[in-house]
Symmetry: C2
Subunit: 253 residues, 2 copies
C-alpha cells in the first residue's frame, strides 16, 4: 500500500508554535481529516481535500482517514495541541486494532505538537515544573467515578494537575464537583489558573484560589492548572499577573 | 531595564521538532546560558556569547542569566525538551523570588518546547492518550519517600506514567526500586517503553513488560513510559515494533 497517514498535532493555535516538521509536511498532504475548526486553521494553497466532521465522531473519522490512506492518499489527521494527548492518535490506533486487518500494514506517522498545558504553563511561569498529572474531566468516555478517584489520588500525592475538557454544554456540573472534591482534600489557598485559548486572538488568563474557583470561569477552550501545596506566586508590579511556578525541590522536614 | 530573558525549550533533539517561535528568537539573543550539551546544539552564526555550565548547577546558572539580563543583554536560558518540565524555567523563577528585587521587573518570556515524553509517545503510538502523570525519579531535589508515594498513588489511579531522570551515575538503584514497587501494585504484563535519545542520532526504543523491566535498560537520556492496565499493544509484521497506545475510553463494568 502506498498511502500514508500522518497524525498531526498543530499546537495550541498560534502558527509559530507549530514544529518545523509539521510545517514541512502540511503542503504534501492530499487529504485533511478532522474536527472542522482545526482543519480550517490550515492555510494551504494546494488542492488538498478537506474532510471535516463534528466533535465526538472521532472513531468514524479515524476509520475514514484510514480508508483514504488504504486507497493511496497521503492523509493528515489533524488535532489541536498534541495529537497524542486526549486527541486523535489514540482513536486512530483503536480504529486500526478493531478494523480492516490491512490497516496494520499502513505507514502511520505521529507528528507531536505542543499540548495546551505547556503553552499555558509558559504564559503563567512554570507551574508544571515538578511532578504533575494530566486528567480529562470528560465523562463521555470513562465513568465519573474513575475521574473522582484520580483527582483524589493526585491530590493525595501533591501532584500539580492539568485539567483538560473541563466543561461543555452536555457536561455543565462536573467541574464544580471536581473543585468541591479538591477543596475537601487540599488547602483552599492553592492557586488555580484558567488559561483560555492560549496563543489565539481571544487568549485570556485568570488566576484565582481553589476556594474561589468556579466552573463559570471555564469553557470548552479552557485549560485549568491547579497548583500543589508547593506551588508559589511571585507578585509583580500592578497590572501584571504574578508568576505562578512550582519549585523543583521539596525539602525534607 | 532593557534586558530580556527568554527561557527556551529546544525540544528533544531534532531541529525540526523546534517551534517556529524558538527558531525565530535564537538569532536575536546576545547570550546563551545553559548546560553545555544543550547550548552546543545551537548552530548560530552570530557573535552570541555562550555561558555553559555543568549539570546540577541550575540555581547558580539562573542567577548568572538574570544578572546578564539586568545589565541589558538579551539572554536565552536553554533547556532540552520543554523548559517548564523538570528544567530551567522553575529554577529561574526560584532565583527571581529569592534574589535581587530588581529581577522582578525584568521581562521574562518562556518559550515552550516539545518535552521528551511527547516525542517518545509519538514514536511508540499513543501511550499517553489517556490520563497520565509525569514523575522525576531524581531524589537529588526531593525525598525518595515522596517519589515512592507518588508512584504508588499513580499506580492506584491507573495513570500512565512518564518517568524522567530515571538513572544517573549518582543514582544507580532508584529505578529498580521503582519497578519493584510497581510490580507489587500492578499486573506485571503491563507494557514498559524505554525511549532513548528520541529524534537524535542514537535514538533507540525498547519495549518490554513490567515483569522484565530493569534499570540496565536505561541511562540518563532515557524517558520511560509505563502503560496502565488499559494500555494495549497492536502487533505488526516482523521487524516492526508493535504500536503501544492507551484508549481514550474506559467502559463501565
Amino acid at each position: 500500500m502506498t498511502g500514508k497517514l500522518y497524525i498531526i498535532g498543530l499546537g495550541p493555535g498560534d502558527i509559530n508554535l507549530r514544529t518545523t516538521e509539521v510545517c514541512q509536511i502540511l503542503p504534501h498532504l492530499t487529504d485533511l481529516v478532522g474536527y472542522a475548526p482545526y482543519v480550517e486553521r490550515i492555510e494551504t494553497t494546494s488542492t488538498v481535500r478537506r474532510h471535516v466532521s463534528d466533535n465526538r465522531q472521532e472513531l468514524e473519522r479515524a476509520r475514514h482517514a484510514l480508508t483514504l490512506a488504504e486507497q493511496g492518499h497521503i492523509v493528515g489527521v489533524i488535532s489541536s495541541g498534541d495529537a497524542g494527548i486526549f486527541a486523535m492518535a489514540s482513536t486512530v490506533f483503536e480504529a486500526i486494532e478493531t478494523g480492516n486487518p490491512l490497516w496494520k500494514q499502513l505507514e502511520i506517522i505521529v507528528l507531536p505538537g505542543l499540548s495546551a498545558m505547556f503553552a499555558a504553563a509558559a504564559r503563567l511561569g512554570a507551574p508544571l515544573g515538578h511532578d504533575f498529572c494530566a486528567i480529562s474531566l470528560s465523562d463521555n468516555l470513562k465513568p465519573w467515578d474513575v475521574i473522582l478517584r484520580r483527582l483524589r489520588l493526585a491530590a493525595e500525592g501533591d501532584f500539580v494537575m492539568a485539567l483538560y475538557n473541563p466543561v461543555s454544554r452536555s457536561r455543565p456540573w462536573q467541574l464544580d464537583a471536581a473543585f468541591d472534591l479538591l477543596r475537601s482534600l487540599l488547602p483552599t489557598s492553592i492557586t488555580v489558573a484558567f488559561a483560555h485559548a492560549i496563543s489565539q486572538d481571544d487568549e485570556n488568563i485568570h488566576l484565582t484560589t481553589l476556594a474561589e474557583a468556579s466552573a463559570k470561569m471555564a469553557d470548552m477552550r479552557t485549560l485549568i492548572i491547579i497548583g500543589s501545596r508547593y506551588s508559589r506566586l511571585i507578585p509583580r508590579e500592578k497590572a501584571k499577573l504574578p508568576w505562578f511556578y512550582t519549585p523543583r525541590s521539596i525539602k525534607e522536614n
